[in-house]
Symmetry: C2
Subunit: 335 residues, 2 copies
DNA sequence: CTGTTAGCGCCTTCAA
DNA sequence: TTGAAGGCGCTAACAG
């Protein structure tokens, strides 16, 4: 139990005004004469008064808080996304309540916490949501925006990049450059993004009369992706191209192929990633990849969330942003 | 304005009990008969009732929230640190309020927000604090723990690794391996960690009769560090060793030296970093570095913060954890 | 413009 | 064990 803190009453007493005068003084649209305002501010300063956000939230019924659920903070892509989102909401005057979950973990208890926390909006970054919770959010008219994860439920908004066509591009590009044994390193079974990237990739191969040479799961995790790579390359003939469901894993593959198999990229094996994280552009990797428009995605998500929070009504939208192929040096060129 | 939500009164009415019965039912130490508890829970379930954390905080005067101020989320080291901290506090039943600041930015408005938010503790990750705010936190008996940043004020706790000796080791190790033109890539002028690492490094060189060959600022930023590297290596004779104030910048240096100067690591130039981020161990870098014990640091910080929050009294402590040199392949061996 | 008066949703004595 | 009653610190009508 904390010792009693300075309240607006204390300030009022010292300033010789009513408590509500103090309140007005600290709310943007309170009408107050310059004279009392000054008295109040002086008293407040003297006592070190600061309005109590919690009390304010209780009465205004608005916490100006959004909950962010994120997994995979070890992946630079999501660290960056979180950073941008944080900046955006901060600048709009919202506080961020951060919840970390494991990539495939269930979010049940976390969601429960969030619902009790009176957050006015929920942003899910690469985190899954169960239908009952999605339903509950809708019931309470708390807008939810998911980035890069889907839920089988129409009540929540979803922002993602065009995973299917990203995968499709990767597949057709590899074929067009003369590759024949294309392997895929998938992320998590539970991830919708991975599923779409895979589907697009397979469809592209199929449309050219090929099928996927081999497939492994790297769980969006660096070391797991290295293991996946090893599994892929232990049996001959090994793949002549690898498409990974994200850059993080693609780079894991590059590192492993070079260091453990003595293979050169792209002379011996071509590699394509997904995301376009900063590392992809580093000289060591020059990773050809599919760029997700992070900034646009965050901006879209923020816009949706902010809009719905302000209007107090839900208008779930599914937004799919175009990806852009980034050609660098990790794919062998035909001829 | 949100529509009225389900309150404990609604539940009480439906269950045919008093509101306080409902309250007791949802607080851990409320004494209630099994029968009423059941009635209440049933009613609560039916109405979708969840206790309002804000109201609870107001009356208990405890928000069970800690504010985390972090900069440099693009640096994997801090992304990781945040992830660990988040897990720790979550598992202790605390909520995290996240505030991002720019690496050298002032934290004035952010601190102001935090103070109003009624957070019970503040964790600063690579973020600076001005003395007046430190003082205010002390006045309000809000414990503050800073990780890897110092404030010239004894009221707050500080956890850091032994930056001085880390730098010292780097310096003496380079000398002992026969290097002669040791350069330093510093972080930010405002960063205490950088200052200590530098001091240790210089002292080590000095004690062997050397001085720093050249010094540049990389601002803990990848691209800035690349520029710093370029500046370091444009005038002949260039350094035969580079010590960077963190791995992030060390790797930027490696990338730049290889790609733009055609130099080999460690044959032509040796490089030492600081942190031991995951990347440092990747085959491409094999970066010799000074490991900061992240887990221990977070554990120590969490322990300090939790302890002080529980006891409600401040007992600021300065904890310096030992670093450990990690010898990999980025330093040329003597002989 | 200012003060008075009700609460926001909950916890917590205090009696019963 | 239960209910009644009084706030936590603040905002928002409402009169004056």
């Amino acid at each position: 139990m904390k010792r009693r803190s300075v309240t607006s009453y204390d300030v009022a007493r010292l300033a010789g005004v009513s408590q509500s005068a103090v309140s007005r003084c600290f709310s943007p649209k309170g009408s107050i004469s310059a004279k009392t305002r000054e008295k109040v501010l002086a008293a407040a300063r003297q006592l070190g008064y600061r309005p109590n956000t919690i009390a304010r939230s209780l009465i205004t019924r608005s916490s100006r808080t959004v909950a962010v659920v994120v997994s995979q903070l070890d992946n630079p892509f999501y660290a960056l996304t979180l950073a941008r989102a944080s900046r955006t909401f901060q600048s709009e005057g919202y506080h961020l309540l951060l919840f970390l979950v494991s990539a495939d973990g269930d979010t049940t208890d976390v969601m429960s916490e969030i619902l009790q926390s009176q957050a006015e909006g929920i942003l899910m970054l690469a985190a899954s949501l169960t239908t009952p919770f999605a339903q509950e959010c809708v019931d309470r008219s708390i807008p939810v925006v998911m980035i890069n994860r889907t839920v089988d439920f129409t009540g929540v908004s979803q922002v993602s990049s065009d995973n299917y066509h990203g995968g499709y591009w990767a597949g057709s590009y590899l074929v067009s450059q003369g590759h024949r044994r294309m392997a895929f390193i998938n992320g998590l079974v539970s991830s919708s993004t991975g599923a779409y990237r895979r589907r697009g990739f397979l469809d592209a191969l199929l449309s050219q009369g090929f099928s996927c040479w081999a497939e492994e799961y790297g769980e969006y995790h660096f070391d797991k992706a290295r293991e996946a790579t090893r599994r892929l390359f232990t049996k001959q003939p090994y793949p002549d191209a690898v498409f990974a469901a994200n850059d993080h894993m693609a780079i894991a593959a590059v590192e492993t192929l070079r260091a453990e198999f003595g293979l050169r990229i792209p002379e011996d094996v071509s590699v394509i990633g997904f995301d376009d994280t900063p590392l992809a552009a580093w000289p060591s990797y020059q990773l050809t990849t599919v760029r997700q428009p992070v900034e646009d995605m965050v901006a879209a998500a923020a816009e949706l969330l902010l809009g719905q929070m302000r209007e107090g009504k839900l208008s779930p939208v599914q937004r799919i942003l175009p990806v852009v192929p980034i050609l660098r040096g990790s794919v062998r060129q035909r001829g």
